[in-house]
């Protein structure tokens, strides 16, 4: 056909030839299916990679377009979500605060159950000194609520400290880990007495020094130390902590050890105050308390 065109045959003749050719092809392919299979296969083999290439490019471009379209939506959505996040995080903070408060109050309630003999008042720590650990802190209850100097302060599962100053609506508490603090303690299992003395150096490790343990005391790591009956200010039987690193002093007369407080002083926010003072009870308690032989 091409040759005909070049030799300047009339287009009409070309058309007739073409039509006849087409009809022959149609009849051939209609009559004998699969006769053109090799041709189809060959052409398909050549064209398909091109299509795949174009397809890849097309997919890439349409993906980009989609991305661009999505970006705008995403920006809007992002803005909306950010607003939502700020609202929600605010609410969440409130809820978390409530939860912490609830936890603290629950703990206090448990403690209340544990030391139920003593009348107690719950209080919140409203001021702390700037150290990592509280040595001295202020609570939001005072003489108005029946508190007085020398009342014992508890938290969680153990002793926190003692009220050193008491005002109308707030009090100052010295924690047992304070360098000035010294509590007469006692090993619950053996009834050996000791002195639990706050030490600034040990404070960072979260420990308290335990002095003046009798050299004969049969104590081991992990023994519980409670307030002693001999203590003038602390009610007896309140858990202070667990002993460790027991050593014989150079004097060969006493032992020294470290004590891990039962209370986590770093995370203290609520405390309980026992509104009874030691003195009036001193005659009666030793007989009542089973922990004392």
């Amino acid at each position: 056909m091409r040759r005909r065109a070049r030799y300047n045959f009339k287009p009409k003749h070309g058309l007739i030839v073409g039509v006849i050719l087409c009809i022959i092809l149609i009849i051939l392919s209609f009559r004998f299916e699969g006769i053109f299979y090799p041709v189809r296969n060959a052409v398909g083999t050549v064209i398909t990679p091109m299509q795949q290439g174009i397809n890849t490019v097309g997919t890439f471009i349409s993906d980009r377009m989609e991305t661009l379209k999505n970006i705008r939506e995403l920006i809007q959505e992002n803005k909306k979500l950010k607003d939502q996040v700020s609202v929600l995080s605010y609410e969440n903070k409130l809820l978390l605060q409530n939860k912490y408060e609830l936890d603290e109050l629950r703990k206090l309630y448990e403690l209340d159950q544990k030391y139920f003999d003593y009348p107690k008042v719950a209080a919140r720590i409203i001021d702390k000194d700037i150290n990592n650990w509280y040595n001295v802190f202020t609570i939001d209850k005072g003489t108005k609520d029946g508190l007085a100097v020398d009342m014992n302060v508890l938290a969680g599962s153990g002793l926190v400290g003692i009220i050193t100053e008491c005002y109308y609506n707030h009090s100052v508490v010295r924690a047992i880990i304070d360098d000035k603090s010294a509590v007469q303690g006692m090993f619950l299992k053996t009834s050996d007495t000791c002195f639990v003395q706050g030490d600034l150096k040990l404070m960072e490790k979260g420990k308290i020094r335990v002095n003046f343990i009798s050299k004969d005391a049969q104590i081991e790591d992990g023994y519980e130390v409670v307030t002693a009956h001999t203590s003038p200010k602390y009610l007896q039987g309140i858990l202070i902590g667990y002993v460790s690193d027991i050593k014989l002093d150079s004097s060969n007369m006493t032992k020294t050890a470290y004590l891990t407080p039962a209370v986590d002083f770093e995370r203290l926010s609520e405390v309980l105050i026992i509104t009874e003072l030691k003195e009036p009870l001193i005659k009666e308690l030793p007989e009542e308390d089973p922990s004392i032989d």
């Binding site: 287009p11 070309g14 087409c22 092809l25 051939l28 392919s29 052409v43 064209i47 299509q51």
Partner: protein
């Protein structure tokens, strides 16, 4: 020779684009018929013979790749190319609107023939329905595509003529 290669490349490009870009450039499930644009515009620019040849080969390629019967599309495209060749008599280099009309007519004829051979012969008589849902949308889209494609083809043709003149 150069012209032949260019036409061959044009056919391949149109075919590949049309078949592989289908998911990306189809609107309302119709595709512009790029091959018809190619055949009609070439016939419009170069005359009956060229239009016929291009139509024949592009149709043949289409047949080989997609058709059931080899030669059917070739026949359609060749007839369209031949008919569009008549328009070559009023070919004007600056006219970009008239070829669009021819493309529309050519596409309609192609669609109509396709309908007759693929649907009517199987007893599907509801031509208005097919006309409304397939033929008209495709014609519109094809004409829209032709506004760009024709310009490109025209540019290529212009180049070719210029080069040929230089050689002479």
């Amino acid at each position: 020779m150069k012209r032949g290669i260019i036409y061959f490349i044009e056919i391949i490009i149109c075919l590949v684009l049309q078949s592989s870009l289908y998911p990306f450039i189809s609107l309302a499930n119709v595709m512009p018929n790029l091959l018809i644009i190619l055949v009609v515009s070439t016939a419009y620019m170069r005359g009956k013979t060229t239009g016929m040849i291009i139509g024949f080969f592009s149709g043949l390629l289409l047949d080989i790749l997609y058709g059931n019967l080899i030669g059917l599309y070739a026949l359609f495209q060749m007839l369209i190319g031949y008919m569009a060749g008549f328009a070559n008599a009023i070919y004007s280099e600056d006219d970009y609107t008239l070829p669009l009309v021819f493309v529309a007519i050519g596409d309609f004829i192609y669609q109509f023939l396709y309908y007759v051979f693929e649907f009517l012969l199987r007893g599907k008589l509801d031509f208005p329905y097919y006309f409304r849902t397939i033929i008209v949308p495709e014609i519109i889209y094809t004409v829209a595509a032709a506004t760009i494609v024709y310009k490109l083809l025209h540019m290529v043709n212009h180049r070719l003529i210029r080069d040929e003149n230089k050689e002479e």
